[in-house]
Every structure is written in structure tokens, then in C-alpha cells.
Symmetry: C3
Subunit: 307 residues, 3 copies
């Protein structure tokens, strides 16, 4: 399986996802053995129009663990500064002259698709505005597969900011490709899941329901996928923000309700949404989930640059 | 041929230029074969006192395609901050303790020469204020050689901001080393070529003339070298800026006038100075020109660090 | 000898220091032979919560000279931005998923220790607030060993800002481990050495005295360790600052008084505290001292990642 541009999570079908996850699993072994040099002298450019240090470092480490090299900027807005006014397309055409793959982070939804239209080298979307962040969705799904051994048949509670969170939306798209999935959306009133996702799930015959009582749901799900309520989304509505924040917190009392082999996921960073006391429980999967980002990105780079 | 400091374009004579271009051509093949490791464990420091992401990434990719490593800062002004007040010379003496070659970008004309005076390791000037940017001039000349198969005897229209553009000035210096060159300077009144360049060309018996009608010149030249009118150079003279901007634009109508084997060059970024409709024409050489920057910089690094 | 976290200079005893210095000396030879690849595919993360380009580049070069790779941010404050509010511990747990060693620079004293408590991968403290900067102290001591051939029995004048300077404090701690050391503290009134260091030296039976006349001390010491008076430490006390600045300057007149085989050290950057005229004297050891930072950091990385 040879991949080219990675623009959105939905571009993967079940068979491609299965291949990708097998490769990611192999990459875990590659890392444990100390890395590989299959991408030596290949150059990856990380072109970030806004900083996202976590995502950038994860991609860069993935490239290096396979022996590849990195050129990098978190200051790509400079290209399109008022005075200079270069188009994204031109920037991509210049950067691709000295790189073999481009990781693009942009503040505008649709930027990755725009870039892919003119690029000769593969583009990986590392987040474009309120649009997609496909490698996050892929690592989430891979974590489910690795932790629970399967994806078909799982039940998941998605908790927190379901209105604004890119990750919850993308994961929903992907889960709709699997069988007998049960999704429980648990959110404060002001951050409830949007109707486009609900319509999508209906069209794909994926079971979902909205719940307000996490304690009722915790005992029956395989996964609690917690997300952070993002202050910046609320603007001046401080009261709304505070109310939303305190409503669903994962602590020991929730842990006690959960199944023994269930897991807790979180795209990170977390603030108070998961209490520290949860970290030492083996069901706390969120740091393993972050680590899976490395393996997924290694697998993608391998499948893109070599096949 | 072993090189050391690269401070200004004029330091190269015809024979050195010929050697450099042969090496750059070899580097193109090295890239196509997937890179080399001749510079492995060599460390290049990019010390940028002002950001120039494009130039920096091109140098860094060049180093990596030859197996070398990069340490990098676009924040070098920190060294000379008010509180600390370290001299450029001291900074260079420290950085050279942990690098094998230094790429210096500075906001002050003459900085590269100053650095070279104290440095034990080679310095490459990546632009110093209104001074020189020799690798840009070298890649421009190399592009002419690669695209047209020769340099002697070519005719070139230099268009746009000839007063402030570093590239046009440096390219003029280099072209004066070749035979039967014809230069047509085509510029708005406010950005005409300065008398020092004209005097230089006279002394070197290089033909040039100033023209105002691009349509008259387009049919007879081998190269149109377009440049961007830089807003920031005009300050409050908005009217002058707008007039200058609109005056010479490369579009399909200009393409129609040009010779079949002529080329269009541009140091990039372009804004509206070359219309998008021109991009798909095979004579549009500006993205190939950007790519040549990689080969020239690889060739320089090889000639500096190995010979 | 296998090392793990490097948090403070005092964690090394004499025998560990001797081992480290032997390894650093070997590293000098490795560099002269063009580097090594013993750390290939190992990834070092430089996580800097405040910029310190000099320190960062030195660490990165050290890693690369041993064949290793680097992921890097000087913008780590982003992780803990008001809106996101991630703890240092969480950040470390994420970054360690994609790195083999973490170099941490932080604005808060004690941050390195905090990080080490949760980290599975080794942490190297690259300066935490007014706390420690152990690799600087180690390279200082290594420089004494390399330049003078021994540490026991040396006499040293520490000059300048002894109240605020991290380096002078850490070096004092380390010197107290050696025999027959003589320390002369020479400082303006406002930046005299603090009583905690004096108490420490007393407890360890290390000779020290405070002097005000550098000309009296210069002829009898093996080392003058000059430091910069840091303007930012004085706030609005401009008069105090100016007085402190001018008081002890190393120039030719001081050189004339010094022993033939004595040396001058400085953690750099220097401003006017050592005159340029001193640079060409073989006793000016400060640039060699900076270079020793590379060897010490290579040695630490080797001892941490391989043993």
C-alpha cells in the first residue's frame, strides 16, 4: 500500500486502516529496537502557519526514528505577510523543491487540500483551522485497536467539548466505518455535538445517543474519551465556561464505576478534566495514546515515502 | 577546487563559476538518486539575525541531502540584546566551537565580512542588509546556464525594482564577467537602476540600456528577469508604489511576444508581478530557479567542507 | 559508568567527575576525527521554556556529533499558556513518548527536579531559574583540569557579579570537593558572594577570602574567573550598576601582573569586562572554555544513553 496526500481521516477505508495499523504496530517494534535508517537523506519539511509544538515534535521524531531529516518552521506566516503576500500555493511549490514530504499546519480550513492541488510531493495535513487533523483521528482509532484488541462492537462515551473539538468529530467519522459501534455523547448544554455529525451517523446507521449523566454511562462503556473545555471558545461567556468545566470530571469515583478492561482516552493537554489521581490506574490510556501518535506518523511516513 | 568563506558574488571568477556549476549539476543527480552521506556528522550552523525561512530551509535541506546535520536559530539578535551586548565577533567565535560551517544572515551590510575576519570555520553570507546575498546571485546565473545552455552572448531584461533589489545588482556584477552580454533595464521611474551599477558595467564594457517599453524588449531577449516592487521600500509614498506596481506585469500578452526558447525568471516571492496564467508555460523558469538554489548550496557546502 | 538524570553539579563526586572528564577528553578526539555514529536514531528533545540559544546549540551539536537526532523548541511556554494550562509533568510525559533524552531549560528554580520525578527518560537540567546549570559548572571545572593539568591545589580569583551569578556559585560547590583549593572572591560591594556559599565552603574546609584589590590578587592566582555584571539584576539602581561595571576589568595591565601559566576564564557573553586586547594572549581561555562545553555535553550524552 503506497499512500500520497493525507488530507482527511475519511479518505481511509477499513482495509487501508487495517494496513496502516499493522504498519504502526511494526513501527513500535522498530522504535524498541532503536530505530531504522530506511528514510535516510529523505527530507521532511514541517511548515506550520501557527505553532503546535506537540504535533510538530511528534512528526519530527517519527521522521528521525526512520533515519530521515527535518527542516522546520513554526513561523510560516512570514511567507504571506502583508508586505510580501505570497500565496500558499507558491510557498508550497518553493518548499517542495527542497523536501520529499511536507507537513502542513494552517489556520484556515481547507488549506491542506489547496496545497495538495499544486504539490508534486505528498502533503500531510497537521491540522487546518476548524477543519481536519487526520493523524490525531488515526492515532485515536489505533489506540482503541491496540488497547481493546478490536474496533467493531465497542461502546464509547465522548465527553466534554463536543461542539468545537476537532478530535471528537473526526473520530466519529472513522467509527462510522465499523460495525455495532455505540456512541454516547455526554456534554454540557453549551458544547453539545452538532447536528452534522448526528446526521452523518444516522446515514451510516451508527448507534448514538445523548446523555447528561456520566455516572450512568461510565459502567457500560469500553472507552471514556474525555476532552478539554477550551476557554478560548467561550469569549466573554465566563459563566458558561465555568459551568461547562466543572460538569464532567474524571476522578476516582468515575474509575470505580468503570469496567475493569475499559480505558480512558484524552487528546491532551488536559487541565482539570482528568484528575491526577487517575494517572496511575492501568486504564488511564492517554499517555500511551500520545505515544501511539509516534507510531502512526512513522507508519504514514513509511507508507508515503517507500510504500 | 576548495572554497572557504563565501562573502560576495564577485569573489568568483569565470573558471570558479564553471567549476561550481559543474558540481551543482552533479548535485542534481545526487538528489535524484536520493542523497549522499559525504557530510555525515558535519554540523552546519544557521545563524539568522532576522528570519528568512526560505533561504534557511534551502541551506538546511542542502546540508541534509549530503548527510550533514544542522543547528539553527532565527533568533540570533538575542545574542546582542541590550542587556547582553555581545559583539558579532564573539558570537561567531562561540558558535564555531560547535559547528563546521556557519550560514550567516544579518541586518547590517558588511556583517558577513566582519564575521569572516575572526572565524576559523567558513562563513557563508546568506544576505547582509542591503549588501550581498551571493548564493542567490549564483543560483540565478546557474539557472541561466542550465536553461539556455550558455551564458556568453545572452540578452536579458531586468524588470521591476532595480533600485533596491539586491538580486538584480549582484547578477549584473556576475554577468559583467561574460562576453557579449546585453542587459535591458526596464523599471518604473522611481526604481531605476542606480549609477554605481551602470558605471561598473561601463568599466567592464558590458552592453546595457534603459528602456521603458517592456513590449518592445520582450521579443528580443533570452531572459525576462522580473522582480517584485517591495512596498516596504516606499514608506508613505503610496501613490508612487501603486504606480510602480502596475507598470510591468508578466502575463499571457507578454508571453506571446517572447521567443520560443526564452525564459522568465524571478527571485520569488512574486505577488502580482507575474500572473498565475504564466505558470503552466514551459518558459516559466522561476520554480526551477528556486530548486536550483538547493543544488548550488549543496555544491558550495561540498566544495567548502570537502573540496 | 552509566548516568541518568543530570540535575545539579553536586550530584557528582570526585570519582564520577574524573570519569566524566576522561570521557570528555575522548570526545575531543572524536570531534577531531570528524564525529561518530554511536547515537544514531536516538532522539534528543530540547525543551526550552525560555530561549538560550548558546546552550541549546551546544547541546544539539553534541548530539549530532555522536550521530544522534534532535527535536527542539524554544517556545515551550506555549504548553502552559493561560488557556491550555498543562502542567510541566504532563508535558514531560508527552515529550518523552517521542524522545530518548530531554534537555530542559526552565524559568523556575526546581523545575528540572520536578520533571525528573515523573520522567522515564533521562532529564538534563540546562538551567532552571536562579537554580542550577550543571553542565556549565562541569565544563568550567573540566576547563581547569585541561588547562592546568590538575584541580587539587589551584588558586582562583572569582571576579564580578558573585551575588547573582549561577556559575560562580556552582563552581564553588564543585571546587569544595578538591584539596588545597584557594578561592579569592573579588566583587563590588553590591554583588558580593552570599553567605550560604561562604558557610558551605567553611563546612568543607575550603580556603576562601574576600578581596577588593584585583591587582593584589592577580599575581598569585592560577585562574581569574571573570563574570559579567548583569544590568537586568539592578533594576532602577543605575548608579550601582555603573559603579559595579567599571570596577574590575581585565585588560593588558592585569595580564602583565598574572603568572605566565595562569588562565583567564569567563562563562560568556562578555561585554566590557574583558577587553578585546586580551583575546590574543594564550592565557585567554574563555573561547576554549566554550568549546569544552561541546565535549562535556557529548560525554554526558554518551554516558547517559550508552554508558
Amino acid at each position: 500500500m503506497k499512500l500520497h496526500h493525507i488530507i482527511k481521516a475519511q479518505q481511509f477505508n477499513r482495509s487501508k486502516l487495517a494496513n496502516l495499523f499493522t504498519m504502526a504496530h511494526e513501527m513500535k517494534e522498530v522504535v524498541q529496537k532503536g530505530g531504522s535508517d530506511i528514510l535516510s537523506q529523505k527530507v521532511m519539511a514541517t511548515v506550520f502557519y501557527e505553532p503546535s509544538t506537540r504535533t510538530r515534535l511528534s512528526f519530527e521524531s517519527a521522521m528521525q526514528k526512520l533515519g530521515g531529516e527535518v527542516i522546520s518552521t513554526e513561523n510560516a506566516r512570514e511567507f504571506s505577510s502583508a508586505a510580501k503576500g505570497e500565496t500558499l500555493e507558491d510557498t508550497i511549490r518553493v518548499i517542495e523543491s527542497y523536501s520529499d514530504v511536507i507537513i502542513l499546519r494552517h489556520y484556515e480550513s481547507g488549506a491542506a487540500e489547496k496545497a495538495a492541488k499544486v504539490a508534486r510531493v505528498p502533503i500531510i495535513n497537521a491540522g487546518d483551522g476548524s477543519g481536519q487533523h487526520p493523524t490525531q483521528a488515526l492515532l485515536d482509532l489505533y489506540t482503541i485497536k491496540e488497547e481493546l484488541g478490536k474496533i467493531d462492537g465497542i461502546s464509547i462515551a465522548m465527553v466534554g467539548d463536543l461542539a468545537n473539538g476537532r478530535t471528537v468529530r473526526s473520530l466519529s467519522y472513522l467509527l462510522a466505518k465499523y460495525k455495532n459501534i455505540k456512541i454516547y455523547f455526554v456534554a454540557p448544554k453549551v458544547t453539545r455535538i452538532k447536528s452534522d455529525i448526528k446526521d452523518y451517523l444516522k446515514r451510516h446507521h451508527t448507534f448514538f445517543t445523548e446523555e447528561s449523566n456520566l455516572k450512568k454511562i461510565a459502567p457500560i462503556v469500553d472507552i471514556i474519551y474525555q476532552t478539554r473545555i477550551q476557554k478560548e471558545r467561550f469569549g466573554k461567556r465566563v459563566k458558561d465556561y465555568k459551568e461547562a468545566c466543572g460538569k464532567y470530571i474524571i476522578d476516582k469515583s468515575i474509575l470505580k464505576l468503570m469496567k475493569k478492561d475499559a480505558i480512558i482516552m484524552h487528546p491532551l493537554p488536559r487541565v482539570d478534566d482528568i484528575k491526577k489521581e487517575v494517572d496511575s490506574d492501568p486504564r488511564a490510556a492517554y499517555f500511551r495514546q500520545a505515544q501511539n501518535g509516534l507510531y502512526i506518523r512513522m507508519a504514514l511516513l513509511k507508507l508515503i515515502l517507500i510504500g
